[in-house]
Subunit: 372 residues, 2 copies
């Protein structure tokens, strides 16, 4: 053959990068299985037993496509949030929904604003749409919403991404602080507010959903507090016309039917959610204790993970992560300085954290004896 | 507010169309539930009982993201097809994979070739990427692959979509016929060969997968013969470099973990697939019999549905469909003339087809007495 298929030029130019390597791929490479899976901010406490039963009961119906309107789930979410079903779109996790937003908003060269070292999957979607990603540094380990908005103005950007609580640092702004800054957001700039971890944050972290405001979209998920990362159910809330735009580009029949059922059952078990909150909180405290016992400091977190400041540079944190990996502990770390002085440990079971507690001093000692 | 978010111009201009209205939405509108769900080419015989058990057992692990590399499933598929894992990409159903291809290939104004009245979801993805969709008429109720390739040449198109067996007509070309026509495909034109129904077609319908040829991609799914439409598992096979391009744009963590497990178990139960083939075949024959008893003719089908030629125009077929709908029978019909003289009935259980057999003459009689 002489010629070959002619890809879109934006895609042709992209590297085949992968936002994250999964723990299974690491295990295949390492040749052993992780003893503690506390790296991907999954919820080790799992979904509500009622959601598990509902999903198991739904499995025989998997021959049917899921309802493309997500009617039952959307209506339950609307009631839960005190908004209309028209203000909600259900999609294939926040990752999937962010991909839709990128396609909805970005044209080749569009300036898109995010924090330096924030969620890589958003950046990945921006790249595939040909956007021009511009970044604002973190300020004291928090995303700097004021600076993000200022840059959107100065760069004539139409799209900002911001997570609250933040990933990978776990830091957050209060609802009042957010409301105040969002009031300065230009009408024609869309803020994607990623609240993946919001159910695990202190009260008064989430502002009320303002369905009159077309330029803020609020992203939520069943992957974190609700314990269904493998189910791929997220949703986005906002003004009705903005929400309707997702119907132009989303995969209408893209939802897993079993997951739809599971998400509905999980939503209906708020008592279980309260219990998870308490388990995550205990786990965060214990991770902090473990860090401090090892003369490291933990950054306060409103999410289901804790960034541990290792007090040195990115190379040191990376070496520590490698040592922990080789001891069977799956964790991750921020990719960009200065946040990459940290390792990021997800909330774990007692056993997970026993293993981490055991492994951390061994790893640190090893690095002390063999500095990189 | 004065301004509003500035959407990408292609998306701004799109209508919020929905490729298909789901049966659940119809039920909500009608105020009753369908008695027979034989409209969406779902597999009423369901997945292998082994796949059901495997999925039920996997549900408690849904707190974990699925393996983004789909390693186990991909390797099993590679062994099944006698190709390398590098020649396969797993994705969120063929719908999801076609969306990726549209983004991979199409630039605003790119000519894209399909048959007039073929799969609407492909057209939907083309529109969202700003492609210029050009259509070739069916010839004797079959997609006209020669004419599609000719139009790709004359219009300098880089992308052709073609389904074998075809949906909505169920007609097909043999492997030999396909190989012969594909040999004339220009090197720089990509053919998306949608084989959603291939496992239900006669032997010698699928050409061998030629992994040396970058310009043919073969799309398969667990939604049809394998009975897992609600699980959202598809895959695409082709030359390794072309396949690798999906890594630039796909949702790496987009697969439902439970569905990954289910697809693997379904693939491993080929005996069950043989049984489904026989059930679908019986069902096709019975739909044909029912049609003929009512003086309608059935078009031979290699898929899990039968297009029944109602012998009149699209309005008549639409009226017949409405009558059947009001009797609780969910079916669909082709959207475009001349195929829209047909109604399309999916393979059903004995009971489904009993209901259809009962409803069809009543509906026809009603139309005879009250012509539109």
């Amino acid at each position: 053959m002489t010629g070959k298929p002619r890809l879109a030029s934006i895609i042709e130019a992209l590297p085949s990068t992968v936002p994250f390597v999964g723990p299974e791929a690491q295990e295949r490479q390492l040749g052993f299985n992780f003893k503690a899976r506390i790296g991907a901010n999954e919820n080790v406490f799992g979904p509500s037993p009622k959601a598990i039963r509902a999903m198991q009961n739904a499995v025989p119906d998997v021959w049917q496509y899921g309802d493309p309107e997500n009617y039952d789930l959307k209506n339950a979410l609307a009631a839960h949030h005190g908004i209309a079903p028209e203000n909600i779109m259900v999609g294939e996790g926040i990752d999937g929904l962010l991909g839709y937003v990128a396609r909805m908003m970005i044209e080749p060269g569009s300036a898109v604003i995010t924090s330096k070292g924030a969620y890589p999957t958003f950046n990945y979607h921006v790249a595939a749409s040909g956007g021009n990603l511009l970044t604002v540094p973190y300020r004291q380990d928090r995303e700097d919403l004021e600076a993000l908005i200022a840059m959107a103005r100065s760069e004539n950007s139409k799209l900002i991404y911001f997570a609250n609580p933040d990933n990978p640092m776990g830091t957050w702004w209060s609802a009042d602080e957010l409301i105040s800054v969002i009031s300065t957001l230009p009408d024609d700039v869309l803020l994607c507010l990623d609240e993946a971890y919001i159910e695990l944050a202190p009260e008064n972290t989430a502002p009320p959903v303002d369905t009159d405001r077309p330029n803020v979209l609020r992203f939520r998920t069943f992957s974190k507090a609700y314990g269904m990362a493998g189910g791929r159910v997220g949703y986005v809330m906002g003004e009705a016309q903005m929400i309707k735009n997702f119907d132009k580009i989303r995969n209408h029949f893209g939802m897993c039917r079993v997951s739809q059922v599971g998400a509905l059952a999980a939503l209906q078990d708020q008592d279980y959610l309260t219990q998870v909150f308490s388990q995550v909180n205990q786990s965060r405290n214990r991770i902090k204790d473990i860090a401090e016992k090892n003369n490291l400091s933990a950054i306060d977190s409103a999410a289901n993970f804790v960034a541990i400041d290792c007090g040195r540079d990115g190379d040191f944190a990376m070496s520590l992560l490698s040592e922990l990996t080789s001891q069977g502990i799956f964790i991750r770390m921020p990719g960009v300085a200065p946040q990459n002085r940290c390792i990021r440990v997800s909330a774990g079971t007692e056993k997970d954290l026993d293993l981490f507690e055991e492994a951390l001093p061994v790893a640190l000692e090893k690095l002390r004896r063999n500095p990189a």
